[in-house]
Symmetry: C2
Subunit: 259 residues, 2 copies
């Protein structure tokens, strides 16, 4: 059992929890808690190291057995070590260090994608991924100015979608949508200015629905590169919807509303 907070694995885990550059450099991210760790195992994530407290192993015997069987390495840790690593108040005692192994995602005609430009709030990004999976979006595209998809808050907010939903990170969404447009794939910029009511827009051929930054919306160059502009009609005085609420409505229309 690892009981020293100075153990190299413990130090690595704590670093991965706290720093996106550490995650990038080391090529690992973390999942904490019984639900997320089980999701990681069931989704075939490459679990390099499984850490658990003896108490949690007894409390969640099935999940513990599954995690032992699929993880490359595993070790019991003391409660104090667990608390050093985790960012939640009462950690459940299961913890995974997982390889970042982004499978190549390609944008295909007829499928439905959501693209997030410069989303900074981890809760918003996590919710967008969770919603995308629930509604049946085929993949997620992120600008590289979005917050880190592997940050613990985002991972938790996705409710495991981060392990299952295809995604790609691109330096410039305007370049991407221009390329897609040449391949006949439509792109829908969500913006309140000079846009069509989403309810009157033909979304049946799929494509990419683009969601902008919390404060500023989509960049002008991205809006201009898209084939369509859509808006959610609003009645109230609130200047705009929260990014993840707007994304939920847009993806709902994109995936589910009847033609």
């Amino acid at each position: 059992m690892i009981s020293s907070r100075d153990n190299p694995t413990v130090k690595l885990a704590a670093k991965l929890m706290n720093s996106s550059s550490a995650r990038r450099e080391e090529g690992f991210f973390c999942a904490e808690g019984v639900r997320l760790c089980r999701d990681a195992a069931e989704s075939g994530a490459d679990i390099q190291q499984y850490l658990y407290t003896e108490q949690a192993a007894k409390k969640y015997p099935k999940d513990h057995a599954l995690l032992l069987s699929v993880s490359k390495n595993s070790s019991a840790v003391s409660q104090s070590v667990l608390e050093k690593i985790c960012d939640t108040k009462s950690p459940q005692g299961l913890f995974c260090i997982i390889s970042i192994s982004q499978p190549e995602m390609t944008v295909k005609p007829g499928c439905r994608y959501v693209a997030a430009e410069d989303i900074r709030d981890p809760s918003n990004l996590g919710t967008i991924l969770r919603t995308a999976e629930a509604l049946g979006i085929d993949g997620v595209i992120l600008s590289d100015e979005c917050c880190d998809i592997y940050s613990p808050k985002v991972v938790r907010g996705t409710m495991g979608a981060v392990f299952r939903l295809p995604f790609m990170i691109v330096p410039d969404l305007s370049d991407l949508v221009r390329e897609l447009s040449e391949r006949g794939i439509q792109s829908f910029a969500s913006t309140p200015r000079n846009a069509d009511d989403i309810r009157n827009t033909d979304l049946s051929n799929g494509g990419v629905m683009l969601i902008g930054n919390e404060g500023n919306g989509l960049q002008d160059k991205t809006i201009n590169a898209c084939t369509h502009r859509v808006m959610i009609p609003m009645k109230g005085r609130a200047e705009s919807l929260n990014a993840s609420a707007a994304a939920a409505i847009l993806m709902y229309e994109f995936c589910l509303t009847k033609e």
Copy 2:
């Protein structure tokens, strides 16, 4: 200028920021930051005390003048006092103590309401209010087990909707919807079990859309008291949508989708 952290107003403000029972006992809540304080002033909130740093007064002269003119009392405070009060990392220097004066809200036939049962997460509750205002919901009904609508996180998340949107807090939503049903007002329980696809439900007569707790959904007794059950059809593997994302989609269908 107040520069002592032991000043009674400062102590009151700090207490109101940190404790829902203090807010209930004292009958005040707080708004912080230029946007929220301006919203409070413009919405006719009863501002008992306006606190500001000299720096903020210079930086936001119009908002400062407005707040001085509508507030019952006002005072400059030092940066250190401001930091004692505020829960954000870099407070903007404008702060209001506002009377809790909930106007009576009545549920009217033909109007559209959203009811939240036992929503515990302040971000979710704030987002639900913000979304409700943006989409044109006529009022919000909260069970008394929801988190405190006057907590700083909720107030911030509403983007000012808390000052403008009519709302009421009730001990038991099942009792309320039963009463409304007798008055011919429909109620729509959102639940994944034995429910109709929201896209096939006639929502044109208005009524109340009910959203349940983050982990457990609506209580059975509440579902049973409602006149209708509705669900968002889901394709993906995520067990459910986040409460505020589900609420956004349900309110969108309720308020905006064409019949």
